[in-house]
């Protein structure tokens, strides 16, 4: 077309883009390190399924329509990327063709057809997207001008390319190709236009134009397409559409195995960390680069807030705003962060020399405190760590580890946390349980049940980890007794630790009190390792999660199984039999730390289905999208004073399902839902029961 113009546009467009990206990458590199270059095979798998496969967009029934819309636009982009290269080439060489995709090969024709249909589909999807934003207006969406601008640009890209080709088609077909335009022509596959129905249709729209007019349209559309594309590219890094560039790497670098980055094991003995405020995230520069990439990638689609128990009940935590606020703060302080990181690299380890550098580094300080000013305290403490947001996030943003790291800063460094936690922390410190009941009463529930203690028989096959609730809470003690009854009926060789068991430290860790967590973990691991414990049955998903995923960081390696999983196995092995005698409508509430954290969804359902004579009916929000009871992440020990109550919201859902029994597998859920039922005055109609209690009652 015009090598000069093309060169100018590419140099300016790509040059500016490269400069922006360089700044963005530099900013990421100024953040803390994160080891995300291992496990390449697993990462590629995630990339293929979650990013390229658009799993979380098309996979959710509730969001399928918009998911398909997005997937087609995304796949369209992937396909049309090749087309862009061809068009850049066309700027220099008339009839430019890519190797393998030229007119001599079938592939070339196939690509033309694919490109043609894709443009048509993307255009329809853009129209649908406009319709959704303007007419349907889903509440989760931020209706910003940026969204319309980007949709508009995509529309222009499709229309301009179709009209460019359409005009070419008309000139060749209706006017005998006066400008000797190039088009694919091959004796075997024919003229290219046979393969491009959408282009032909576009050509027909402008069939009224004269040859001169069509030629002008063709040239104009070509340059409109190129310029729009470069503008589009340059707009991306400045808004939420940065995800177009960052989501693929973000998914690639996501945490493998455990659903999100494991909480960092902090070295609390190192005195300097206390002096330098380097525990947890107190400042922007303490985020790691992957967390920064998460912020770049947030698309503000709002799926996170829609499933968030706190947002739904009017708490101030709005996850995409949270991300956006942090991102804007990061951009506003980009220069400071980069300069600070440069200085940090010059630290020598020599105290005297470093003192000066540290002094200089201290200058690069944002105006506002990260937590308290940029992010409000109520926002930070609202989270129940239920992971619903992470489970639905199409670009795999990890919210919870970041929130916990910020809580660590607050709890360890600033001493700023909801004061109700004091009682629980104190109880933990003194008596190894958040209730603060004397540690020597821990095994009182088992009196008269003839339960062995590890101290008496350390060679048992299983340790039954009772947990604090199962030990001290009157209601949950009934669950512990039921578990014992089942294990005894099945002839399982097990013991409990009795007064030697302490809280696993789950709630302390998730409310940022790493010190208290490590205190608990150290003592427990020492006890467990002394007894050479190998297999643990945990009667609480929070204990399960901590024993299984947190303790290995500190040298505690055990095979940990949740009681529902274990009971299910006992039934499958024929060691116990349950009667199908549970009457009334039955439903199941998935505990977050059992489901989303440990992917145990089937075992509880299989047990319940085998017991109920009416079958198990599912709640609207179940499985991976189960709705939190409100007690995770230390929230069990904090007041819930803002908005409506999460447990009541969940209980109402259960009542609306007309359930007569709601089964749970977690002591926190048991307490919260039972309380919710009382609040709704439905505790007589709807019974909240742990699966173990139901099994114990229906043993054959």
């Amino acid at each position: 077309m015009s090598p000069l113009l093309m060169t100018v546009l590419l140099v300016v467009g790509l040059g500016f883009f490269a400069r922006t990206m360089y700044q963005r990458i530099l900013l990421l590199m100024s953040l803390e390190p994160a080891d995300r270059f291992n496990r390449i095979k697993d990462r590629l798998k995630n990339l293929v399924t979650i990013a390229l496969g658009q799993k979380r967009l098309v996979g959710r029934k509730k969001e399928r329509a918009s998911g398909i819309m997005h997937a087609f636009i995304f796949w369209g982009f992937c396909i049309l990327l090749i087309r862009s290269i061809t068009l850049y080439g066309e700027g220099y060489v008339h009839g430019f063709q890519l190797p393998l995709l030229g007119e001599s090969s079938f592939l070339g024709y196939l690509y033309l057809a694919l490109k043609d249909v894709t443009e048509g589909i993307v255009l329809i999807m853009v129209i649908y997207a406009f319709y959704r934003r303007l007419v349907v207006k889903p509440p989760r969406l931020h209706n910003t001008w940026e969204a319309y601008l980007v949709l508009g640009l995509i529309g222009v890209l499709m229309v301009s390319d179709l009209l460019y080709d359409g005009a070419r088609f008309m000139l060749v077909n209706a006017y005998g190709n006066p400008g000797d335009l190039h088009y694919f022509n091959n004796p075997t596959f024919g003229k290219e236009f046979v393969w491009t129905p959408v282009t032909v249709a576009a050509g027909n729209v402008i069939s009224g134009f004269s040859a001169v007019g069509l030629e002008r349209v063709m040239v104009l559309m070509f340059w409109v397409h190129i310029i729009t594309q470069l503008i589009f590219l340059n707009i991306l890094p400045f808004g939420k559409h940065f995800h177009v560039i960052t989501s693929l790497p973000n998914v690639f670098f996501k945490s493998p195995d455990y659903p999100h980055e494991k909480i960092k094991l902090l070295d609390l003995e190192d005195e300097s960390v206390w002096e330098d405020e380097t525990l947890g995230v107190n400042h922007l520069y303490q985020l790691n680069w992957k967390q920064g990439l998460d912020l770049y990638t947030c698309t503000e689609c709002g799926r996170c807030k829609e499933v968030c128990p706190t947002y739904v009940t009017d708490k101030p935590l709005n996850l995409h705003d949270f991300n956006d606020t942090l991102k804007e703060e990061m951009y506003a302080n980009a220069d400071n962060l980069i300069l600070r990181a440069k200085l940090a690299k010059t630290l020598t380890g020599n105290e005297e020399a470093d003192a000066k550098t540290k002094e200089k580094m201290a200058v690069f300080k944002p105006e506002k405190a990260l937590v308290g000013e940029v992010i409000a305290l109520d926002t930070l403490w609202a989270c129940t760590t239920c992971r619903a947001c992470e489970q639905v996030c199409p670009v795999t943003i990890e919210q919870v580890p970041r929130i916990i790291a910020m809580r660590q800063g607050q709890t360890l460094m600033q001493g700023e946390y909801p004061e109700e936690l004091n009682t629980a922390f104190k109880g933990l410190e003194r008596n190894g349980n958040p209730w603060g009941i004397g540690y020597d009463k821990r095994a009182d529930w088992a009196e008269g049940l003839d339960v062995k203690l590890m101290a008496d028989d350390p060679n048992v096959e299983y340790l039954l980890w009772v947990g604090c609730a199962g030990s001290f809470d009157d209601r949950t003690q009934k669950v512990s007794k039921a578990v014992v009854k089942i294990l005894k009926a099945a002839g399982v060789d097990f013991a409990i630790l009795g007064t030697e068991e302490k809280c696993t430290g789950d709630f302390a860790r998730r409310s940022g009190n790493e010190m208290m967590y490590q205190m608990m973990a150290t003592e427990n691991i020492e006890t467990l390792n002394n007894y050479k414990v190998k297999k643990i049955i945990a009667a609480c998903p929070h204990c399960l999660n901590t024993l299984k995923h947190d303790y290995p960081q500190m040298g505690g390696h055990y095979e940990v199984i949740h009681h529902t999983d274990f009971i299910n196995q006992l039934i499958a092995d024929g060691k116990i039999r349950v009667k199908k005698s549970l009457g009334g409508a039955l439903t199941y509430h998935d505990p977050c730390y059992l489901g989303r954290y440990n992917e145990i969804y089937d075992a509880p359902r299989s047990i319940l289905a085998g017991m109920s004579n009416q079958g198990l009916s599912e709640l609207p929000r179940h499985g991976t999208e189960s709705f939190c009871c409100g007690a995770g992440g230390g929230r069990m020990w904090m007041e819930e004073t803002i908005g409506t109550r999460i447990n009541v919201e969940r209980s109402r859902e259960i009542v609306d399902e007309k359930a007569e029994t709601v089964a749970v597998g977690c002591p926190f859920c048991l307490t919260m839902i039972e309380d919710g039922m009382k609040e709704l005055d439905k505790d007589e109609q709807v019974k909240t029961r742990d699966i173990a209690e139901l099994v114990a009652e229906h043993l054959a």
Binding site: W274, Q414, E419, L421, D440
Partner: protein, 260 residues
Amino acid sequence: MKILTTVKKVVDVELNIHVENGAIVEKGLQYVINAWDENAVEAAVQLKEAHKAETTLVSLGSGDNTDMIRKCYAMGIDNAIHIDDPALAKADSPTFAKVLQKVYEAGDYDLVIAGKQAQDTDAGQAGIMLGEFLGIPCVSNVIEIKVTDDTHIQVSRLGDAGTEIVDVTLPAVVTVSDSINEPRLPAMRGIMMAKKKKITVMDLAGLGTSFEEIGGTAPASEVVEFMPVQKRKGGQKFEGDPADITARVVQLLVNEAKVL
């Protein structure tokens, strides 16, 4: 203003306390800061935060109180004195009050804040006796302290019939109730940083006195024996027709309980 606050380490009363041969079984016991003293520390720190006071803590007893004192440092206390003397292991309230008097006299304090009693003995005497020995005003069961000026405070005292507002001339002793405040949990960072803070540890001789001088050798009271708390029997549950139940309950009250 210089504030002295007194802190005692007590047996954690959340635990079952076992008694054998008239003495408490030490095994399995753990020791914690007396809850009311935590309120006293919190009150002192709050006054410091509001009025530029200097706060000093004194703990008495035998044995290591470092952990407890570090936490008080982390709460915001400025100085700490620990009177560690084996002779104090079984001292009574007046003896302790005498030691506190010595500590008070060695410093130049304007206000002593003590917990109104200790969780282990529930005696509630040491603070009040200290006021008496020093001959300065003492107000007990305080739920609010307001500084009027350099030499006066106004305190609210919870009485049986309501709240008394008392103007007090300094120096004075106040003993505080647990409803005066919610003690902060010491920040982790504070506890770690407190490792570097100095704790002045001395025995009675170091304080310039002796067990005899403070009356320890001729105590006013002595513990003779500990007895376990009798466990309450569980209640009885009656089910069935209300009329039948009433008849049975009345019969039991008359014949078994013999209260009617």
